[in-house]
Each structure stands twice: as C-alpha cells, then as structure tokens.
C-alpha cells in the first residue's frame, strides 16, 4: 500500500510537472512573441464607411454605441445642409417634414449670414447614418460615425464589426481610440 502510494505520488508529480511545463512554456512564448501591452478598442475608419445603417441594428446594446460626430473644421456651415435636410426639402426650416434625422438629433442654429451650425445631440442619435450619407454624398463629409467609448462595451468580437460590409472597423490603441476626420491641408 505504501509502495503504491509512493509510486502514485511520483506519477502524480510527473504529470503535474509535464502539465505545468506546457502551460508555463506556452504562456512564456506567447507573452514574449505575441503579446502587446496596449489594450485595443474598436473604432470605425470613416473613410471606408459606406453608411449602410448596420451600426444601428447590429450593436449588442439596445441603443448602439456608435454615434454620429461632427468635424466642425470641415463643415461648410451651409444653409442647405445635405446632412440635415431631406433631398429637396419643402422649406429650409427645422420642421420634421424637412429633416433627414429620424430622431431629430441634429440641432441647427444660425451663426451669421449665410452660415448655420449643426450640432449633434448624442443622447438622441442612434447611429443610423442617414445624415452621414447625405453629408458625404453632397456635402463636405464632415459628419461621420464613430464608436463612443463611454458607451461601448468593447466586446471581444464586435458584432457590428462582423456585420460591416466595408470592413471599416478595426482595433485601435485604447489611448487613441478615435479615428477622426481632419481637414486636409490646402494645396
């Protein structure tokens, strides 16, 4: 009985040693060769986005973590903003019949003649990309979608990323988590 126990004991230790060896070696290799210290979060590359509308419907959250943001430096401040107004609006006022945004998330305010400022209320925006499509197609493209990291859960597999037809989602470092559009330098 004692012999058996000793033998068992040794076999046990050997097996444990083998297992530990595999795990430690594998872990060390991965840590050395394939690991990075930075954390990565998801973000949309606005130049690849084709404004398909999946961002609104595919997010695991009830209200998508993707919202429209505005690069004010690129905006033309047009009276007839093609991201704010429906194509061929009835009149240029904030009536619901003229607005493109289904949730009324864009606020229009007069600055000086003939310029108007357009600001997005993120609480109302649901990432449907209608304004982005209008702005990119006919305007300056200063409205674009971005993942908002105060809302995003940073899922291991982003379900919007999986459904994006233009593969516009990619992992970016968590300390620079936005891919904002910038105005190109002149010339």
């Amino acid at each position: 009985m004692g012999e058996e126990q000793k033998k068992l004991g040794r076999r046990d230790v050997l097996r444990f040693g083998a297992g530990a060896g595999i795990v430690v070696a594998g872990g060390a290799y991965l840590a050395a060769a394939r690991a990075g210290t930075g954390r990565a979060v998801w973000q949309i590359d606005p130049n690849k986005c084709i404004q398909c509308g999946n961002c609104k419907t595919e997010c695991v959250l009830a209200t998508s973590a993707v919202k429209c943001v505005h690069a004010f430096a690129m905006c033309g401040y047009c009276e007839l903003c093609t991201g704010f107004f429906e194509p061929q609006p009835n009149s240029l006022n904030e009536g619901a019949e003229n607005q493109l945004c289904p949730t009324g998330a864009i606020k229009r305010s007069f600055v000086e003649d003939p310029y108007y400022e357009y600001i997005i209320d993120e609480d109302l925006c649901d990432g449907c990309a209608k304004c982005v499509k209008g702005c990119s197609s006919f305007g300056n493209g200063s409205l674009f979608l971005q993942v908002r990291h105060n809302l995003c859960l940073n899922c291991n597999q982003c379900s919007i990323a999986a459904a994006c037809p233009s593969r516009a989602f990619r992992r970016v470092p968590a300390d620079h988590p936005y891919l904002l559009k910038r105005r190109e330098p002149e010339g």
């Binding site: 009830a62 009835n90 619901a96 019949e97 289904p102 109302l124 209608k130 006919f138």
Partner: protein
C-alpha cells in the same frame, strides 16, 4: 425543555421556509410580469422606430406632391413627434425593465435557494442496487460511439451541403468586367485591346479616332425608311438626345435625357431589342437643380463612348456614369452644372485606360473654369486634369499619333491645344479660333484641321512645342466655314459642311479651295468617309452620298423617313442612325 427547544427550532424553520417560499413565489410572479411587459414593450419599440417608418414615408411623399399643404406639414410633425416620443419612452422602459428583471431574478433565485435548503433529501442508501459496472461501461462506449457517428455524419452533411468553391470565379465565367479587372490587376497601364477585326466597333463620336473615317466594308448605299426597304430594324428610344449611336460588337448605345432623368440605353445590334436602360441618378455631388440648356442642344448632347467592356455617358448637368455591358452600374461621378450657354455638348474620348472629358465652361477665358480631365475608367477617379484658358466650347477632342507622340487635340476659342494624354501636360497650342467653337478638330495629310465660322479653316503642323501660333500654321482658308458640323479630312481633301447646305472642298496639303456644292438642305451632322464615298446626313434624315472629291459626284441618296441630327455609326454591312424618335439599323441580317 429540550423537546420544547427542538419544537421551537422546527417551527422557526417551518416559518422561515414559508417566508422563503412565499417570497420566491412573489419574485417569480414579478419576473414573469416584467418579462411580459418587456416583450410587449419591445414590440412597440420596433413598431415606433422613426427610421423608415412607412407612415412618415407615405406622408412625406404626399407632401412632395402638394408642397404648399400646411395641414400636411402639421400632420407630419405631429406623427414624427409621436413616434419619437414612443420610441424614446420604449427605450427608457427597456433599460428600467432590465434592471427590474435582474433584481427580480436575483431575489427569486436566492429565495428559492434558501427555501430549498430546508428541503434537503437524506440519501437513501438501502434501496440502491449495485450498479453493473461492466454494463455501464459498454453503454457509455455505445453512447460515445453513437454521438461520434452523429457528429461525423453532421460533418459529412455540412461538407456536402456547403461544398463548392466559395469566392472563386466559375471556370467558364465570361463576365467581361471580371476579366478586365483581372487584367488590370496585373497590368494597370495595359490598353484595352482595339477591337479585333472580327468585332465591329464605332466606339465614340465620329468613329474610332474621332476623325469621321470608317473602315467598314459593304456599307449600304440605298434604303428607304418610309417603306422599310433595307431597314433591318427600328426601335423607339425612350428619351431623346442629340447624341449619336456608338457600337461595339452586337451592342449599340445611345443616351437620352430630359430635365430630371438621364438614361443610357443598350440595344441589340441584330434585333434592335432594348436590352437594358439605366439611369444615371443619385450621383454624389450632382447638382440639385437641373441645368439650363438651349432647346436645340438638349440634356443629352454628348455622345457616349465605349471600350468594349464599359460604356461611359455624360450629360448636360455634368453627371458622368459608367456601366458594363450587362447594364450594371460600375461608378458615377458628378462635375456639377457647367456654366455653359447652350448646354454641355463635348462628347467623350478614350485614351488607353483613361476617359477624356473636355469640360469647358464660363463666359470668358478669364473665368478660369474650363478644364480637361482624364478619368480612370476603372473607378471614376480623376487621373489628371489640366486647366484650360478658354471659355465654354462644344467641340470634342481627338487623340492622334503624330510625330512619334500621342497627342490629345482640343479646339476652343481662342486656343487650339494639344496635350500629352498620359499626363495632361501641354505639347503645343495655337491661338487661332474665335466664336462659339462647336466643330471638332480632325487630322489628315499630316495636319491638324480646325475651323469655325467667324474665324478660318486652319491647318496646323503637329510637330511643334509651346506656342506655335506664329510658326506652325501651315495655311488657312476662309470660305464655307461651319458653325456646327465638324470637318472631314482625308489624305488629299478637307471637306467643310455649313448648316444651310453648302459643302466646300479644299486641298489638304496646300489649302487651295477646290470646289463647293450647295445641297440646298440643312445639315447638323458631320460628314463621314466610307471607303471613297462621303456620307452626309441632313436634318430631314436624307443621306447624301458622293464621291470624295472636288466634283462631289453623287453616289446616291437615301431617306430615313424621320428627321435626324446625329452622326451615324458605320460598321461592316450596317449603318446605325438615330432619328428624333427612333434608332434605325440599316443593313442586312448577318
């Protein structure tokens, strides 16, 4: 005493059990109710989604028809507000309800656990039989084997169901675009092969090269549109346009447009069937308002161009569209409404894998708005563009090869400019024209010919560099100058056609006027040389055919039965003419 203590303990535990069970019951019911409410709310959430709500879309469509209906506007605003309120309330409910449900489930689980702790079973060791270990082992192995077979079977089924070659072109795929894309992937600068002799083509305005010279054989010389003699088919074209037919193989393309609609049409060359029509619409950057054009010019004056795999079309509002031969839209871009008196009319030209667009606009050369652009045929991006020091013009550029270099020749007031079509750099320019330049340049006998009523007929030597106004104009002639029709140059002669019927013939090398003939009819179409015969279509649709020479020896006339302003397309055994209403094919069935 102990008995009492035990009794109390038992009663206490019974009481606690009751509490636990009852709280579990309440929590369970609560969870069920919240669940039901969430489900009902979720349905409402989906129904009240203001995005693409059919109710709102219908109302907005109605408003588009009755723009001044204020009641309708109020209704739309009310509906929109209602939907948005419902939607956001539902959204709030979902988040609140989830927390309630989570809390309820937590209470439910904990109280059930506490209750079940009072109902622990003691193990009943007497009634147990000894298990048959062997049987158990055999049974387990059998179960594993069954599962393994099921799994492998599922694997086989999956492999069979999803077999095939996903994402690979089928071996016999003859999709032209795919092949082109494959080619372009390897050799980006490869020129689309010129049509082999077996494929007849008339790929742009005034034929290959844009010189108005046809190499076709057996071109008909007699037909009658009214009786149908010699007419193979005649098909109505949905929207009218001043542009001429282009042909490649068994496909004929024309375009048509009105104020709102711009379309490209593809006809079968043998049967005349309209194979497809595609609108050039919703182009990003397209002007919101229709262009202002003269009625005579119309909205679809420029002629399309094709390279055998794609067809390109541009319209008066600066919208440029590209389709493949199956009618699928490949790309489109908009240049915006040009500031053009009559309406944009310059037709398209193709050089290797670039589409050349002469986009002249502006009332004066100083406006600086004119440009010539080379568009990549694959995706519509601008490969190069060059500003032009000219106001609006209506001529179409040609690409020639002279003095060992490819030259892109453009004619406008006052400059005739030759560019290197590979990168848009200027080769030479000559200041000679004036007026509203509509006749396109031609090339023959080693000279570039341009002409314009109010200016002159100029013959320019193409071997210059820079400003060649004083040095390379070989000769100029002043009689019989056209304002619309482009000239025709052969090795020996240059023909000019005036709108009111006068056709003159010059000696190409020297500029000596050799003869003229008044046809006493109206011409808007440019002449074409077919073999040794000049074909010239008048506005009434009558084709005048005469020998290419100063005597204008008549070969014959043929009536279309319908008016026409286009330049016909000539291929082996066939002529395609676009009348004001119909597209005609003259010739024999092949």
């Amino acid at each position: 005493m102990k008995h009492n203590a035990d009794n109390t303990r038992v009663e206490n535990s019974r009481a606690w059990y009751a509490v636990a069970a009852r709280s579990a019951g309440v929590a369970g019911a609560f969870c069920a109710i919240v669940c039901a409410l969430l489900a009902w709310n979720y349905a409402k959430f989906r129904a009240s989604d203001p995005l693409d709500s059919p109710e709102l879309i219908a109302l907005k469509a109605e408003l588009a028809k009755n723009a001044a209906d204020d009641d309708l506007k109020v209704k739309i605003r009310g509906t929109d507000l209602r939907l948005r309120q419902q939607h956001f309330r539902a959204r709030q409910f979902v988040s609140m309800g989830s927390w309630l449900l989570a809390g309820g489930l937590g209470v439910f689980a904990l109280s059930l656990k506490y209750a079940s702790s009072f109902r622990k079973k003691l193990p009943d060791v007497r009634a147990k039989r000894e298990e048959d270990v062997r049987r158990l082992g055999a049974l387990s192995r059998g179960a594993v084997a069954v599962l393994a077979v099921l799994a492998l079977g599922a694997g086989v089924a999956g492999a069979v169901a999803f077999r095939g070659n996903p994402g690979q072109p089928a071996p016999g795929d003859t999709s032209a675009v795919q092949n082109a894309a494959g080619q372009q992937g390897n050799q980006p600068e490869k020129q689309p092969a010129p049509a082999p002799a077996s494929i007849q083509s008339w790929p742009r305005f005034r034929g290959p090269g844009g010189l108005g010279i046809a190499t076709a054989a057996n071109v008909p010389t007699a037909w009658n549109g009214a009786t149908g003699d010699g007419i193979l088919w005649k098909t109505p074209v949905p929207l009218s346009g001043q542009n001429s037919p282009v042909v490649w193989g068994n496909r004929v393309f024309v375009t048509g447009a009105d104020k709102e609609t711009r379309e490209v049409y593809c006809f079968d060359a043998d049967s005349g069937e309209l194979k497809w029509k595609q609108a050039v619409a919703d182009v990003p950057g397209s002007a919101l308002d229709p262009p202002e054009v003269m009625q005579d010019t119309g909205y679809a004056a420029p002629t399309a161009a094709t390279d055998g795999e794609r067809v390109f079309a541009i319209f008066a509002n600066g919208d440029l569209g590209c389709f493949d031969f199956l009618g699928r839209k490949l790309w489109a871009r908009a240049f915006g409404n040009p500031e053009n008196m009559y309406g944009h009319a310059s037709s398209l030209a193709i050089y290797k894998n670039r589409l050349i667009v002469q986009f002249d606009q502006g009332g004066s050369a100083d406006d600086g708005k004119s440009a010539i652009k080379a568009i990549d045929i694959k995706d519509g991006t601008v490969a190069w563009e060059a500003a032009r020091p000219v106001p609006n013009s209506w001529s179409t550029p040609i690409v020639i090869n002279a003095t060992g270099r490819d030259q892109l020749i453009t004619a406008a007031k006052p400059w005739v400019i030759a560019y290197d079509p590979a990168d848009g750099s200027e080769l030479w320019r000559a200041e000679c024209l004036s007026g509203d330049v509509a006749p396109s340049p031609v090339y023959g006998a080693g000279l570039v010919f341009v002409c314009q009523e109010g200016a002159d007929l100029f013959a320019i030597k193409p071997d210059g560099q820079g400003d060649v106004t004083k040095t390379h104009i070989a000769w100029k002639g002043g009689d019989g100058l056209p304002d619309i029709c482009s000239p025709l140059a052969t090795d020996r002669f240059v023909f000019m056609v005036q709108t009111y019927g006068m056709v003159s013939c010059y000696d190409a090398p020297t500029g000596k006027k050799l003869g003229e003939k008044d046809f006493d009819t109206e011409f808007n179409s440019s002449p074409t040389l077919v073999g040794g015969t000049v074909y010239l279509l008048d506005k009434k649709g009558v084709m005048h055919m005469f020998e290419a020479g100063p005597e204008f020896k008549p070969v014959g006339t043929a009536e279309l039965g319908e008016g026409s302003t286009c330049c016909p397309a000539y291929v082996d055994g066939r002529i395609y003419i676009r009348g004001t209403q119909n597209l005609y094919c003259i010739g024999e069935r092949k």
